[in-house]
Structure formats: structure tokens, C-alpha cells
């Protein structure tokens, strides 16, 4: 069943929804990266919660005009409108009053959402049978989507993605080097506006799939996940898009198998799964890599200190040091240095002596900053410089 869903074998609608969710995921991942790098990730939370009153009012309006009230286009237009107003409120509160952006986000998020709930309770009393669709906007529901709705989702997700690709140059510039972008003649304010516009579109298109409470995850999580794998700007964007697409695809497919469950949490948890794997396993920033790096560092310190102790003829009591030196073949089980050990110890002591000269001489001031008790001096100074330092170690000193 799951394999069928992943291979798009569960019917035309489900396939459309899955592909639409994938496109949406890619667009969200890429747009979210810019948002994340501009350090405005949580603004999207305010935008997404601010869609609720729009959805409710659009429904009420459409019913009042004699319609069915469930037209997805109308609901999404309402959502976009009220999300836009919410975004303007955040901007206005941040720039025109003394409130910080976090307070502005929280205020807009909670008030718009609260007002949306009020409208929803009104909708519920209008005519009990028809409101069923609106709760789906909270947590997403793709089960029983109409053909036209699935089509709308897939097409608009593709359009948003195209828009992101079209605007990638200025967005990248503004995200990574706002100062340079301004100097190069871009209007930072407009780029930010475009970025927020894209985020708004992603949110609105994603309402039916992920739901307004959790859509923020689709924007943030792929970007944060991608950041673990690479230090390069363009790679983060591509990787985030990829991860977002995979989350959307996998989540929607899983959800097609379990129609009773809301789609949004499934998509988010798939995305979070990628995040956890990255957190643990990513090279460089991952937990496993950090632990390994720490262990390697610890072993280097122990070996170095052990060798220095050997050079000075001191006994080694520390267990880890003892074990490491033995494993390296530097000492015998009773703590006596082998020939290898004596050579390495002498080398370590020479290194320290050279470092002492380097650190005591202003000529080497930049090299001296590299001293950490572990770095071999050959990696910092040229052979000529080392000869020079050695001459000073060996040089006879006048006795006064």
C-alpha cells in the first residue's frame, strides 16, 4: 500500500496531490532558506496563522452571495488577503512602534488566529452541514480532495516554485550579503517584500496540504537541516529544496495511505526525521562528528602530555594516557619508554622548546597565535624559520 502510494499508484488525485506537495515542499524549502538566513524564520508563523480569518470570512462571504462557500480558489484568495494584512501589521508594529519583531509576530499570530476562531464558530452556526472543510485548513487534509482542487494545488505549487527560481539571484544576494546587495543597486526593502510575498504564497498554497499551524515547519526545517550539511550558500538552497521536496512527497504519500490522519503532522514529522538524521550524522556539525572530533582531540592531548612527561622522565599514572601511549608503541606495559617512544618524546620536547622561542618573539607574533600545545611547529613555520629558531635554542648564552 505504501509502496503504491510512493509510486503514485493510488489514483490520479492522490498522484496529483503527492506531486503538488513535492513541488510545494521544494518551493517552501528554497524560500525558507532565504527567510532563515535573513533571521526572520518565525515571521512565517505569523503569516500562516493570519490566514485563518481570511478563510472564514471568504466562506461567509461566498455563502452570503449565494454560493456553496467551499470553492478552494475563493478560500485561498481570502487567506492570502488576510495573511497580507497580518504581514503588514507585523511590519508596521516593528518599524513604527517600540515593539520588537518577536512581540509583533506573537501579537499578530495570536490575535488573527483568535479572530479566525471567532469566525469559525460563526461559520459552524451558519449551516451545520457545509463547514466540514474549514477545519482541514488547521492541520491539513488531502483525503477526499476534488480533482479540481488537486489540480489547483499542483499548478499553483509549480508556479510558486517557478517564481522562486526566477527571483533566486536577488534573494540569494540579500540573504548572504545585504550590504553588498544594496551597494550593487538592489533595493533591500523590495527584495524583502518579494521574499515575504513568496513565503505568503507558499503558506496559502500549503494551507490545504499542511495546514496553517504547521506550514511554518515546511519553511524552517528543511533550511535548518540543509545548514548542517554544508557551509556553502548555494548548496544550502539546493539541499533545502531537495529536502523540502522529499518531505512533501513522502508525507503526502504516507498520508494517502492513512486518510484518517491529518496530512500536516505527517509531512512535518517526515521532514523532522530528515532533520534528526542530519543532526546526528552530518559531517562537521552533526552530533556524531562532534563526539568523534572531541575524542580525537582528547587523545591528541593525552598522547602529547604523555610524551612530554616521558621526555622529562616522569612516571605516567593517568590510565587513558598510559593506554594510548602503549597502543602507539611508545611505552612498555611497565611504563618504560621504547625506542620509538624516546624519539617521539624528544621530538615533542623540541617542539615545545621551539614554540617557547616563537611565543617569546614579536617577529613571530602571528605564528604564535596558532599555539595550542598540540600543533606541530612544522605546520606553522617554514624550514628556514625553524632553522633560525633552532639556532637560538642552541645558541650559547653569556653568563653574567
Amino acid at each position: 500500500m505504501l509502496a503504491d502510494a510512493l509510486l503514485l499508484q493510488l489514483g490520479y488525485n492522490a498522484a496529483l496531490v503527492t506531486i503538488g506537495a513535492m513541488l510545494l515542499g521544494v518551493a517552501a524549502g528554497v524560500a525558507g532558506t532565504f527567510l532563515f538566513l535573513r533571521k526572520r524564520a518565525l515571521v512565517s508563523d505569523a503569516i500562516s496563522h493570519a490566514t485563518l480569518p481570511g478563510v472564514g470570512l471568504a466562506f461567509v462571504l461566498m455563502v452570503a452571495m449565494g454560493g456553496d462557500g467551499r470553492s478552494l480558489v475563493g478560500l485561498l484568495l481570502g487567506a492570502a488577503l488576510s495573511a497580507g494584512i497580518g504581514l503588514l501589521c507585523v511590519q508596521w508594529l516593528t518599524t513604527r512602534t517600540r515593539l520588537g519583531e518577536d512581540a509583533a509576530i506573537g501579537a499578530v499570530l495570536s490575535v488573527f488566529f483568535g479572530f479566525g476562531i471567532v469566525i469559525l464558530t460563526i461559520v459552524q452556526t451558519l449551516n451545520a452541514g457545509r463547514q466540514a472543510g474549514l477545519e482541514g485548513f488547521l492541520l491539513g487534509s488531502t483525503a477526499g480532495m476534488l480533482r479540481s482542487e488537486a489540480m489547483l494545488l499542483a499548478v499553483s505549487a509549480a508556479l510558486v516554485l517557478a517564481l522562486v527560481v526566477l527571483l533566486r539571484r536577488p534573494l540569494t544576494l540579500a540573504a548572504f550579503d545585504p550590504g553588498y546587495a544594496e551597494a550593487a543597486g538592489w533595493r533591500l526593502g523590495r527584495i524583502d517584500l518579494a521574499m515575504m510575498g513568496i513565503v505568503l504564497l507558499v503558506t496559502v498554497v500549503g494551507l490545504k496540504v499542511v495546514g496553517l499551524i504547521l506550514i511554518v515547519a515546511l519553511l524552517i526545517v528543511p533550511a535548518v537541516t540543509a545548514r548542517f550539511w554544508t557551509e556553502r550558500a548555494d548548496h544550502v538552497v539546493v539541499l533545502a529544496g531537495l529536502l523540502g521536496g522529499l518531505s512533501g512527497y513522502g508525507g503526502a504519500a504516507l498520508s494517502a495511505v492513512a486518510p484518517a490522519l491529518p496530512t500536516g503532522p505527517i509531512v512535518v514529522l517526515v521532514s523532522f526525521g530528515f532533520f534528526v538524521v542530519s543532526l546526528l550524522l552530518a559531517p562537521g556539525r552533526g552530533v556524531l562528528a562532534s563526539v568523534l572530533r572531541y575524542g580525537r582531540y582528547q587523545r591528541r592531548v593525552h598522547v602529547r602530555q604523555g610524551l612530554l612527561a616521558l621526555a622529562q622522565g616522569q612516571p605516567i599514572y593517568e590510565r587513558l594516557t598510559h593506554r594510548l601511549l602503549r597502543r602507539a608503541g611508545y611505552i612498555l606495559p611497565d611504563g618504560v619508554a621504547t625506542a620509538d617512544g624516546q624519539a617521539a618524546a624528544a621530538k615533542a620536547q623540541l617542539d615545545e622548546a621551539r614554540w617557547a622561542i616563537v611565543r617569546g618573539d614579536l617577529v613571530f607574533v602571528s605564528a604564535a597565535t596558532r599555539y595550542d600545545g598540540l600543533t606541530e611547529i612544522e605546520t606553522v613555520l617554514t624550514p628556514d624559520q625553524i632553522t633560525d629558531v633552532d639556532a637560538r635554542i642552541m645558541a650559547p648564552q653569556a653568563v653574567t
Partner: protein, 303 residues
């Protein structure tokens, strides 16, 4: 009016006021410290905690739910901090990752498990059900002095009042260190205050307020009350004592007006049913904030 009001409206209004003030008091400091969204995060992560507590114990009781919520809040704080440090990721984004994932997990757990027999569902968690907290045994104002009738008050009221007392006591006792640490963390550290512990204490007290309120009124009103009344109060004055007083006043106002509008507003315009009180209270608090942002005497940023 009397008997019906005491039985149907007085308890929800009092609970609403307690919730509003209990959240607004620590909210003042959260807003000043630029941590306003902690309320948002807490109210999201409380859900999985409560669901797990229910699944483990099998009952919907205050004790286990409170414990579950507290554990979830601690897990969230640790996770946010770990992600922030390990990945060198901005706090807001780390928060976004953690609270959405935990909320998603909570929703799925809730939907998967059989909770149809008990009063626990996602919508209830979001909007709460303030209107249902009625006092059946009240017959009029005289019931307030009737011990037997008082015993049947909705349990949320004493619980919420207790939370309010705890929060108020915390703010009152730690007023000076809180103020110092919020305005000038460097100086507070310099004079030897444990700023880390103060920050953590503030988060814990906020979590207590949020968890206690969550059961009665849902999470959305909690977020609104953490932020809107303090933010509005911030526009009214430059003195912290005045700000806290204003915020408590605004919170009370929002709770009372919001409840009355939700309960009686639709009747005034001829509709039959009432609307969500929690949503209405949040809306009113937003209107108060809007008014303060438009005409508060200290709305502009100084310098």
C-alpha cells in the same frame, strides 16, 4: 439576570481574568527580554506532554497532565538549546523546528489513540472551552457564601487562581533581580546575580501559567495574553511598575469584554448562538494593542 449570571457567566469570567493576568504578568518580562515567542512555543509543546500523560495514566487528571506538560516543556527547552549550540542555528529557527515537530507528534498521537471517550482533542487544545465551565449549583449571588454550593465550582477556577497567586508571588518576590536581568543582563551578571537561573525561572513560571490555563481556555488565548497586554502597556508608560499595572488592567479588560461580547454580542445583533469566548478575548486584546499602538503616549521608539 442574577441567578443565571452567577451560574453561567461568573465562573468563566473569573477564570478568564485569572488566565489573562497570570499570563500577562510574566509576559511583561518576556516581551522586554525579546523572548515573546516562548509563550508560543510552550503552548505548542504542551500538547504532546498532555497526550503522553493521558496515554500513560489513562485518565484525564490535573496532576499527570501538569507533569506531562512540564516534562514536555523541559524537553523542548533542552532540545532548542542543543540545536542552537550544535548547529549554530539562530534561536528563532531552532524554536520553530522543535515546537512544530513536537506539536505534530502530539497531534498524531492524539488522532491515533482512542480518546473519544474523554475530553481531549486538538480543537479543544487550541480553543479551549471557556463557555462550558459553568457552576451548576449556583442559585444566585447568595451562593457565593454557601459552602455547599461553593464546593461544586468548576475545578478550573481554584486551580487557575492558585496559578495566578504563584505567578504573582514570583514576580513580586523576584521583582528586583528580574528587572535588572531584563534591562541590563551584563550589569546584573556583574553584581553577581545568577542571570541564567533567573531566565530559567521566568520560563518555568510562564510554563506554569500556560499549562494551568491550557486546560481551561486553550492555547491561543495563552499566547495572546502573554504578548498583547504587556505590549499595549509598553506603549502607555516608561516605568516598569506602571507597565505591569497597565498590563494587568488590559488583561482583565480583554477577558471581561471578550467574554461578554462572545456570550451576548451575537444576541444583541439578533443571532442565536454565541461565538468562541477564547477567540473573542484574543481579538479584544488585539484591538486594545492596536489602540495603544496608534495613540499610546509612549508608542514610538526612543532613540
Amino acid at each position: 439576570m442574577g441567578a443565571e449570571f452567577v451560574a453561567l457567566s461568573l465562573p468563566p469570567i473569573l477564570i478568564g481574568i485569572c488566565v489573562a493576568v497570570a499570563c500577562a504578568l510574566p509576559g511583561n518580562f518576556l516581551v522586554l527580554r525579546g523572548q515573546a515567542l516562548i509563550g508560543d512555543a510552550i503552548s505548542h509543546v504542551v500538547l504532546p506532554g498532555i497526550v503522553v500523560a493521558f496515554l500513560v495514566t489513562g485518565v484525564v487528571a490535573a496532576g499527570p497532565m501538569l507533569a506531562g506538560a512540564a516534562i514536555a516543556a523541559i524537553v523542548a527547552v533542552v532540545a532548542i538549546e542543543a540545536i542552537r549550540r550544535l548547529g549554530q542555528i539562530e534561536a528563532g529557527a531552532a524554536m520553530g523546528v522543535v515546537f512544530t515537530a513536537m506539536f505534530a507528534g502530539g497531534v498524531l498521537l492524539l488522532e491515533q489513540s482512542d480518546t473519544s471517550s474523554v475530553h481531549l482533542d486538538v480543537e479543544h487544545a487550541l480553543f479551549g472551552n471557556l463557555e462550558s465551565l459553568i457552576w451548576l449549583d449556583a442559585t444566585g449571588w447568595a451562593s457565593l457564601f454557601d459552602v455547599q454550593a461553593l464546593a461544586t465550582l468548576p475545578v478550573e477556577l481554584p486551580r487557575m487562581a492558585l496559578a495566578l497567586i504563584v505567578v504573582a508571588a514570583f514576580v513580586w518576590i523576584f521583582w528586583r533581580p528580574l528587572t535588572l536581568a531584563s534591562f541590563d543582563e551584563g550589569f546584573a551578571q556583574g553584581v553577581g546575580l545568577p542571570t541564567g537561573a533567573i531566565g530559567l525561572g521566568l520560563v518555568i513560571v510562564s510554563a506554569i501559567a500556560a499549562v494551568a490555563a491550557f486546560d481551561a481556555v486553550g492555547s491561543i488565548i495563552v499566547i495572546a495574553m502573554f504578548i498583547c497586554p504587556p505590549a499595549a502597556a509598553r506603549m502607555m508608560t516608561n516605568r516598569l511598575t506602571h507597565q505591569v499595572a497597565w498590563s494587568a488592567g488590559f488583561a482583565t479588560l480583554a477577558a471581561v469584554i471578550g467574554y461578554v461580547l462572545a456570550g451576548y454580542g451575537p444576541l444583541w445583533i439578533g443571532a442565536s448562538a454565541s461565538v468562541s469566548a477564547a477567540g473573542m478575548i484574543a481579538t479584544v486584546s488585539g484591538l486594545i494593542l492596536a489602540a495603544a499602538a496608534l495613540c499610546g503616549p509612549h508608542r514610538a521608539r526612543n532613540g
